[in-house]
């Protein structure tokens, strides 16, 4: 990440960290102390997270002031900038991988594990190897090998965990 973008990221993260620390602290002091059952006041479950909350908020505040000094608050978001960002090849690759993986996790348990894993691997491979501009026939090798790998890997993982490690598949 570029230095200037890092300062902007630090600005947002610092606010998040400060709020997180604060919330952790507030939730911690609201935790019961168990004094009514004769417990020692310093055995209260909120003590350690409370202290950690203060430390996180304090470090968030330092990060906040540092990002302010480096003008991290100057956030310039333009539609052109966003278009450029999403047209970037790296971002496209990242988003494809991210969305496919998240969908895979969401669908786990709803579709048969072997089938879902095979579909996931197959779509993942062809998302990066298949060229929409070319004919399917000219890319039949890509499709065939992607399908072969998908079936082989999904079957191997399913077999290994189901029958060797005796794990009930999700």
């Amino acid at each position: 990440m570029k230095e200037e973008n890092m300062n902007k990221a630090d600005f947002f993260t610092s606010i998040f960290l400060f709020l997180l620390g604060l919330i952790v602290f507030i939730v911690s002091i609201r935790m019961p102390t168990f004094r009514e059952v004769g417990a020692h006041p310093y055995s209260a479950p909120g003590i350690v997270p409370g202290i950690l909350g203060i430390i996180i908020a304090f470090m968030g505040a330092i990060l906040f002031f540092r990002s302010i000094i480096h003008k991290g608050y100057k956030i310039q978001i333009s539609s052109q900038g966003l278009i450029k960002f999403f047209k970037n090849d790296s971002i496209k690759r990242l988003l494809i991988a991210l969305f496919l993986s998240i969908f895979y996790v969401i669908l786990l348990g709803k579709i048969d594990y072997f089938l879902l894993t095979a579909i996931y691997i197959f779509i993942f491979i062809i998302s990066f190897e298949f060229n929409i501009k070319k004919s399917i026939f000219s890319q039949r090798k890509i499709l065939f090998f992607a399908l072969l790998e998908a079936i082989f890997i999904a079957a191997s993982i399913s077999y290994l965990f189901r029958y060797l490690f005796l794990v009930t598949l999700p």
Binding site: M1, M6, A9, D10, T13, L17, V24, V27, S28, M31, P32, F34, A39, Y42, S43, A44, P45, G46, I47, V48, P49, L52, I55, I56, M59, G60, I62, L63, R66, S90, I91, R93, L94, I96, A97, L98, L100, S101, I102, Y104, V105, L108, G109, T117, Y120, I121, F124, I125, F128, E129, E149, I153, A154, I157, L160, F165, L166, V167, L169, P170
Partner: protein
């Protein structure tokens, strides 16, 4: 000493069965392959292997994990030399001189030297582990809750400083976030469910392995897919076995790097990458051929590889003696030991003294396997580097998913893995080191119980935290580590040094 050697011989002989030797060979080779593939790290390899070995007997499983660990850290040197990309973060220093050697047409000898350096580093670290683990373990028996409290803070602070040298604040934030994450779920004293908001799964806490698989596995899948494709440059690999002359010439560098690597490895959460860089830096400063560094120096390559492999046994020393991991893969190893019912820590030398010798035997076997496999089969396994990432990464993610699920068959663990993968990715993008986060998750329980216990003992008085000798030393180290990151303190130390020097010279002339 003799008794120790006899015990080591006894434990080693127990591993010399055809089945176990076969397991040593395949797991080390698998480790080498994992290390070779950019994007697959030693931590990810050990974490995924933990899920694959949890049905085995404890010593058998730990043996396979150690082989994977040693193989992966070594395997990364192949990629570092051949394509100038460290296979694992531990091999970053190897690229500096390894790749220039490959470009000079010396890829084979460079890999041979890296293998020998790794072998010697591991052996050096193993000897240090055998000597120091019982000593540290015995010393730790005198630790009370005050010392344990400071030990956890010390681990977080030093790990944060060393893994984020550019911006230690981010390292500390990462560590304290990890400590906070560890407080989620049911606490031990009153069985109160903290930060679970009525969710039954959250009440069980965040399990270490799914979180680690996410942080080191899923986030790495995303990182690898984001980066441009790696171009493989073909290198002719001819002579691999290095000349004894080359090795003997740099014996001082080997011993120094072995020592530095082990010490750095033993520092909580710091790991092999820092071990390699510090060893490399020391070798450069002490070298008679400084000008060769960065241009294909054999000495530089030996220093980096000896340093990172010596850090492996180094990282296992605090695992066994204090139950505090020295590196991220060692953290998984610690988790695996706990899963298998082994309780590392100061009491290990009392409850299960032979286990330390078992671990030494395991390291010895893994190191020998790494040396043999490292000097053979090079041409065959280098071909693995041509596997395209889009074919490899969905397989890795599928293993991350099933690996997190397999331990307790809970869908929640898959969710934890995914969320931590996203957190890990965001942290890496914003230059937050993830090792302190993981260390925090591991040490959180130790901090929580020991801080509360200490406060109960002293009735809220914090003076004993500073007056007990070991606690005070820890406190001074922490303060020094934090202040040493600040400019004014460094300037103050410089001025102080100059004044002392002047006074010393004055006293000498008088």
């Amino acid at each position: 000493m003799l008794q120790g050697l006899i015990q080591l011989g006894n434990e080693l002989s127990k591993f010399l069965t055809p089945q176990l030797i076969f397991d040593v060979l395949w797991s080390t080779q698998l480790g080498i392959i994992v290390g070779m593939l950019p994007g697959l790290t030693a931590t990810m390899g050990v974490a995924l292997m933990t899920t694959l070995t949890y049905k085995l007997a404890s010593s058998h499983a730990v043996l396979i994990l150690i082989c994977m660990y040693i193989g992966a850290i070594f395997g990364g040197s192949r990629t570092a030399i051949l394509i100038n990309i460290p296979g694992t973060p531990a091999n970053a220093a190897t690229t500096v001189d390894g790749n220039p050697l490959a470009r000079q047409g010396k890829a084979g000898p460079a890999m041979g030297i890296a293998t020998t350096g790794s072998f010697l580093g591991s052996v050096f670290g193993m000897i240090m582990l055998a000597i120091f683990t019982p000593i540290i373990g015995n010393a730790a028996l005198s630790f009370h809750s005050f010392e344990y409290f400071w030990l956890t803070i010390f681990g977080i602070v030093i790990c944060g400083s060393l893994t984020a040298p550019k911006d230690p604040l981010k390292g500390w934030i990462s560590g304290f976030l990890g400590l906070f994450i560890a407080t989620i779920g049911m606490e031990a004293m009153h069985a109160y469910r903290r930060f679970s908001f009525g969710n039954v799964d959250l009440a069980g806490g965040i399990q270490l392995l799914p979180a680690m698989i996410g942080v080191f596995g899923f986030s790495e899948v995303l990182m690898v897919m984001k980066q441009p494709a790696i171009k493989i440059v073909s290198n002719k690999i001819e002579k691999v076995i290095p000349s004894l002359k080359d090795i003997l010439k740099y014996w001082k560098t080997i011993i120094r790097s072995g020592f530095i690597g082990t010490i750095i490895g033993a520092i909580p959460g710091v790991g092999e990458d820092i071990g390699a860089w510090v060893s490399y830096d020391f070798a450069k400063k002490a070298s008679k051929e400084k000008e060769k560094f960065g241009k294909g120096s054999i000495e530089g390559l030996i220093a980096a590889e000896t340093g990172n492999n010596a850090a492996i046994p180094g990282a296992i020393i605090p695992v066994l003696s204090l139950a505090v991991p020295g590196s991220a893969p060692a953290a998984v190893l610690l988790g695996a030991m706990l899963i298998h019912g082994i309780r590392p820590g100061p009491l290990l030398m009392i409850e299960n003294p032979s286990f330390v010798y078992q671990v030494v035997s395991m390291i010895l076997l893994a190191t020998c396997a790494m040396f043999i496999l490292g000097l053979s089969l090079i041409r065959v396994f280098v071909k693995i580097l041509i596997i395209p990432r889009q074919k490899l990464m969905p397989v890795v993610f599928s293993l991350c998913v099933i690996g997190s699920y397999a331990l307790s068959a809970k869908m929640f663990d898959i969710l934890v893995m995914t969320v931590f993968g996203l957190i890990g990715y965001a942290m890496k993008e914003m230059d937050y080191p993830v090792a302190p986060l993981v260390l925090g998750i591991i040490l959180g329980d130790l901090l929580d119980s020991n801080l509360r216990r200490s406060l109960i003992l002293t009735n809220g008085n914090i003076i004993p935290f500073f007056t007990r000798p070991i606690s005070f030393v820890f406190f001074l180290f922490i303060i020094f580590t934090i202040f040493s990151q600040m400019k004014w303190f460094r300037n103050f130390l410089k001025v102080l040094g100059l004044i002392i020097k002047k006074q010393f010279l004055k006293a000498k002339t008088n």
